[in-house]
Each structure stands twice: as structure tokens, then as C-alpha cells.
């Protein structure tokens, strides 16, 4: 089976500062692939490079079997097959939930009549259980609702691959859990592959099929959840057995090694 997303020897960073080195992994159809690692290890940089929000320094990215040229934007025909859910939802605050959810359709399917667009938007809002917020503005929604609205927007073009940047961040455990269930539901019903950047252990244990663990810009482990849970690698062991999120995922202070 052909991978939906394939990253080969990706090197990324800003100017002379290299953040990711030699990162390689694949995402197969219907798979939920989690990107793990401590703060500052390059998870978001990896996502930004895959989405071409930043240009990789070296390496190859293939989407649906097509190699992406780093010098040009992702072609529309490939972009249409992906959806992105940002950490805070990133809904346009000047537009209603429905207008937000209709944006990708307006961009990629301008030929669609208005009533069809409305029907697709309503169907997607129904999928994320947010039809009642059709006419609301993002400022009138809670954090969880905003993320579900953003998910409806990401689903507008029936994507085959969904990218999620810390979907559970800032949500209470119940809302976080319901968002995880929603992602699983979408994967099972719509056969969408999902790439998720997250820190949330509960979330990882619920949804993860395979993960990569990044450390200092390198892939420390590329494995299934089960392999990760049984791993003897100290960092991985520490990550999955942690009790305190902050101390294990890196904090705001430097960790000097004194002798």
C-alpha cells in the first residue's frame, strides 16, 4: 500500500539554526500518527514544513505519492485532499462559524451554488455536533466548540489526510476526550489518516496507532503505541510513565549537566 505522507531525511530550521535533522517517517492510509517530544524539539516546525508554511532546508516530502517541490506552493489538487486543525482553531473572527466552514469550498469549488455550499457546511457542522452554532461568531464559542468548528472547516473538502496541532491543548479532560472520540469516529467512518502533534498522554493512549518521538531534532523512536509503552529507551519510558507533564516534556529552564 502506498503511504499517504512520506517524509525522507527532512532537515529544517531557521537560517543557520537547524531544528530538525534527518527526520523520516511514513503515514499509511487510515492511520493515526502522533508526533511526540518535549517542548522545543521541533514538533510544530515539522508540521509547518510538511504544510509548507516554512521551507525545509533539505529532504523530501511526498503527499499522496507526489513529491512536493519546496520552492513552489503545494498544488491545489493535493492541498484539497488535506485539512488542518490548528491549536487554537484559527477561525477567522470576522466570519461566522458557517462562513468559516465554507471558506475552503469558496476557494477550491467556486462553481458550487450557494445552497449546495450551505448544505455541505451544515453536514460538516452536524458531523462535529455543532449545527446549533451555524450563525455564531467564534467569539461566542467555547474553546472546545471553536476546535470543533475548525474541524468542520478542515473537513469541508472531504480530506484524506488531516493534520492536527495539539488539538487537546487548553481543553478540559471531558472536552478533550470527546474531541479524541470525534477524531476516531472520523477516521473509522471517513477513512481519514490523521497526523497529530500532541503532549496529552490520555489522548495519545486513546487515539495513537503509531508515533514518532523527536528529541533534539532527531527521531528517537518510530513505533506503534504498544511498542512505545514497552520501550526500554529512558526518554520514551519516562514520557509514557510520567505523572507530571511539565517536568517530563521539558520546561522553561535549562537542564545543565554538572560533574
Amino acid at each position: 500500500m502506498q503511504p499517504i505522507l512520506e517524509i525522507e531525511n527532512l532537515k529544517a530550521g531557521y537560517g543557520s539554526k537547524v531544528i530538525l535533522n534527518d527526520v523520516s517517517f511514513k503515514v499509511m492510509p487510515g492511520e493515526i500518527r502522533v508526533i511526540l517530544g518535549g517542548s522545543g524539539c521541533g514538533k510544530s516546525t515539522l508540521l509547518n514544513n510538511i504544510l509548507q508554511l516554512e521551507k525545509p532546508l533539505a529532504g523530501n516530502i511526498s503527499l499522496f505519492g507526489n513529491k512536493i517541490d519546496a520552492r513552489t506552493p503545494i498544488p491545489d489538487e493535493l492541498r484539497k485532499r488535506t485539512g488542518v486543525l490548528f491549536q487554537g482553531g484559527a477561525l477567522l473572527t470576522s466570519l461566522t462559524v458557517a462562513q468559516n466552514a465554507a471558506l475552503p469550498l469558496k476557494r477550491h469549488r467556486p462553481d458550487l451554488p450557494e445552497d449546495i455550499v450551505k448544505a455541505i457546511v451544515a453536514e460538516n457542522l452536524e458531523k462535529v455536533h455543532l449545527l446549533h452554532a451555524y450563525h455564531k461568531y467564534p467569539s461566542e464559542l467555547s474553546g472546545g466548540m471553536r476546535k470543533r468548528a475548525a474541524l468542520a472547516r478542515a473537513l469541508a473538502l472531504n480530506p484524506e489526510l488531516l493534520f492536527c496541532d495539539e488539538p487537546s491543548a487548553g481543553l478540559d479532560p471531558i472536552t478533550s476526550r470527546s474531541l479524541d472520540e470525534l477524531l476516531l469516529e472520523l477516521r473509522d467512518n471517513l477513512k481519514i489518516s490523521v497526523v497529530i502533534v500532541t503532549h496529552e498522554l490520555d489522548s495519545i493512549k486513546t487515539i495513537c496507532d503509531k508515533f514518532i518521538f523527536l528529541k533534539n531534532g532527531y527521531v528517537l523512536l518510530d513505533a506503534s503505541l504498544e511498542e512505545g509503552l514497552n520501550s526500554k529507551i529512558p526518554e520514551i519510558k519516562e514520557f509514557f510513565n510520567r505523572e507530571n507533564n511539565e517536568t517530563q516534556t521539558g520546561n522553561n529552564y535549562f537542564n545543565f549537566n554538572f560533574l
Binding site: V84, F86, L92, R107, R153, F163, F254, F258
Partner: protein, 356 residues
């Protein structure tokens, strides 16, 4: 992991140049081997040393090799453990540059900004003209809304301020002209002053403060909330979606406001002429009509159009450049107003050379 090590002894009281040479040596070493920093002679931790430790720790985190600190006193160990990542100003980490190099770097920065402004201008002009027939064009609406927000809503403040300034200028000119018995020239003087200079200039400066800052704040907030990233991932060009409606609105709004403001300035002059120079309104308007060349009106409109572009493009650029949190929005807004006014005044000086 390599067993090879490089040991770097650190001197007490080292000056910033020496500390920077430590950083360069340490950074180079970390590419190939493990690094050991010997702090046996260190008694205090200066600000430069703190910066050095933060920078070298960051380097080691990005390297496959390890960093070890040996022979450090307990006080220094405590101080080191209190250095926050957020305490490191990124630019200072590589501040070995001399004044000439800094000047060069600034020049490149300015060149980059000008390049980006030209890119924004060319894209905006293209999508508002030839791009209308381009298949890649996405027909997003919003120009009318922006015209109301950036233009119509700014009209009262523009008109009031221009009226008051023109009134003051006319009053002072009338006194002077009356001294020389040349009060009848007030009409021509006010007309020329308003259309050639004050109308476009004042309108643009007021709009830079009012509409320019609002454009920057809006786009910067969107950048902070990842809305611009979201647009890009949907394949929506932020230029077409955000810059274009504002560019079109300002291209219409600023010349119209400037023209109206110039007329309002002339009205202020007429009131002063009636009160202090005993010139009737009919004589005043006739003098204006006969004295002002029609070409001046076109120059005035063109000038205000360019001023409008300067405000819009600088405002959009400052908004797009924002990274980080809410405080960055405030800084960007301030920069937008300062740079826009500077840009307007520079362009005005250039126009004075070209036109008059």
C-alpha cells in the same frame, strides 16, 4: 555518541569579546565532540556569561553531543539553574558584530523591507487590474466594508482636523498678507497650499494614525491567532484575502477624502478671507477658480493615491511580520504609524522635486 571531548576553561571576569570567543569554540566543538566547560576559576556570573551558558546549552540541545559543566561552585550552579529560556534575547547570542557590520545588516533589513513592499504593491496592483481576468483569482468580497471602515468612518476626524489647521494657517497668512496689502492673494495661496500640500499630506497622516494602525492591529491579531497560517493551508492567498480589499478601499478612499479635505481647507480660508481681508465669498471662489491650474488637482489626487498605498502596504506588512503574543500587536501598530508617517513625508519631499 562520541567519547572524544573538548575542554574549555572559563576565566573569571572575562569581557564580552572573550566570552563570545568561548561560544564560538564551544559551538564548533559540539559539532564533533562532547564539550566540557571548566568553571574552576569562575567566582561570579556576569550577564554576558549567563547569555553564553544559555546559548551554549541551546547549541548542545540541538547537537548529538553532550555538554558537561565541571568544577562549578554551588552559588554558580544555583544561578545557572535559574536561567530561563525566555531570558535570552535571540539577537544578542550572536552579537560579535561591529558597528560597520551592524550598519550593513540594517541596510540589508531595509532592502528586504523595500523588496517586500514592492512585492505587495505589484501583487495588489496586478490583482486589482489584470488579475481580474486571471483564473487563479478568488473573488473574495470585502472592499465595500473596508471602504466604510477605513474611509467613511475616518471622514469626520479628517475634515475637522483639516478645517482647524487650514483655519489657523489662513488666519496667520491673512495677518501677514494684510500687512503688505496683499489680502486678495489669500484665496490663491490657500487653494495652492491645500491642494498641492496640506490636503493630501494631512489626510494621509491622519489616516496613517487611524486606519493604518487599525489595519496593522487586525492583521497582527490574525497572525498571532494563526488565522493567516490557516488561510495559507487552505490555499487562500493572504494578499488576495486581506491586502487586496484594503488596498482597493484605500486607493479610492484616500484620494476622495484628500480632495474633500482640500475643499474644506479652502472653505476655512474663505471664512478667514471674509472676516479679516474683507473679501466676499464670490471673489474668493472666482480667484480660486482662475488661479488654480487643473493639473494641480490631478497632481493632488495622484499624490494622495500614493500616500494611501504607502499607509496600506506598510500597515499590512507590519501586521504580517508579527510573531509571538499580544504585546507584539501593540509594537507593530506603533511601528506602522511611525514608518507610514516617515514614508509619507519622504514621498512628499520626492513629489515636491518632481512636481513643483
Amino acid at each position: 555518541m562520541s567519547k572524544e571531548t573538548f575542554t574549555l576553561p572559563l576565566k573569571e571576569g572575562a569581557k564580552s569579546a572573550l566570552i563570545f570567543s568561548y561560544f564560538k569554540k564551544g559551538k564548533k566543538a559540539l559539532h564533533a565532540k562532547d564539550l566540557i566547560l571548566n568553571g574552576a576559576k569562575l567566582k561570579t556570573l556576569s550577564k554576558d556569561y549567563k547569555l553564553f551558558f544559555a546559548a551554549i546549552a541551546t547549541e548542545s540541545e540541538n547537537s548529538k553531543h553532550t555538554l558537561t559543566l565541571v568544577n562549578f561552585s554551588d552559588e554558580i550552579k544555583k544561578e545557572l539553574s535559574e536561567i530561563k529560556r525566555t531570558d535570552i534575547p535571540e539577537k544578542e547570542l550572536a552579537s560579535e558584530m561591529g558597528n560597520i557590520e551592524r550598519l550593513g545588516e540594517k541596510a540589508f533589513e531595509i532592502f528586504d523591507v523595500l523588496k517586500t513592499l514592492l512585492y505587495l504593491l505589484s501583487e495588489s496592483v496586478y490583482w486589482s487590474s489584470l488579475g481580474l481576468f486571471d483564473k487563479k483569482r478568488v473573488p473574495f468580497k470585502g472592499t465595500a466594508k473596508q471602504l466604510i471602515t477605513l474611509g467613511s468612518e475616518a471622514a469626520p476626524i479628517v475634515f475637522i482636523l483639516v478645517f482647524l489647521i487650514a483655519f489657523t494657517l489662513a488666519l496667520q497668512s491673512a495677518n501677514m498678507l494684510n500687512t503688505f496689502g496683499a489680502g486678495e492673494y489669500l484665496a490663491f495661496g490657500m487653494g495652492f497650499l491645500m491642494f498641492a500640500e496640506m490636503g493630501p499630506l494631512l489626510t494621509a497622516i491622519i489616516l496613517a494614525g487611524r486606519s493604518g494602525s487599525s489595519i496593522t492591529a487586525e492583521i497582527a491579531s490574525m497572525a498571532v491567532n494563526e488565522e493567516i497560517k490557516a488561510l495559507r493551508t487552505m490555499g487562500i492567498s493572504p494578499i488576495q484575502y486581506l491586502v487586496l480589499p484594503r488596498f482597493k478601499a484605500m486607493s479610492i478612499g484616500v484620494p476622495v477624502l484628500s480632495f474633500c479635505a482640500s475643499i474644506i481647507g479652502c472653505v476655512a480660508g474663505m471664512i478667514v478671507a471674509g472676516l479679516f481681508c474683507e473679501i466676499s465669498s464670490t471673489t474668493y471662489w472666482n480667484a480660486l477658480r482662475d488661479g488654480l491650474p487643473i493639473l494641480l488637482l490631478f497632481k493632488s489626487i495622484f499624490k494622495s493615491l500614493v500616500f494611501g498605498w504607502i499607509v496600506t502596504l506598510i500597515a499590512c506588512l507590519e501586521g504580517f511580520k508579527v510573531h509571538g503574543g499580544a504585546d507584539a500587536v501593540g509594537t507593530a501598530t506603533t511601528k506602522c504609524v511611525v514608518y507610514s508617517i516617515a514614508g509619507i513625508i519622504l514621498a512628499d519631499a520626492a513629489f515636491s522635486f518632481i512636481f513643483y
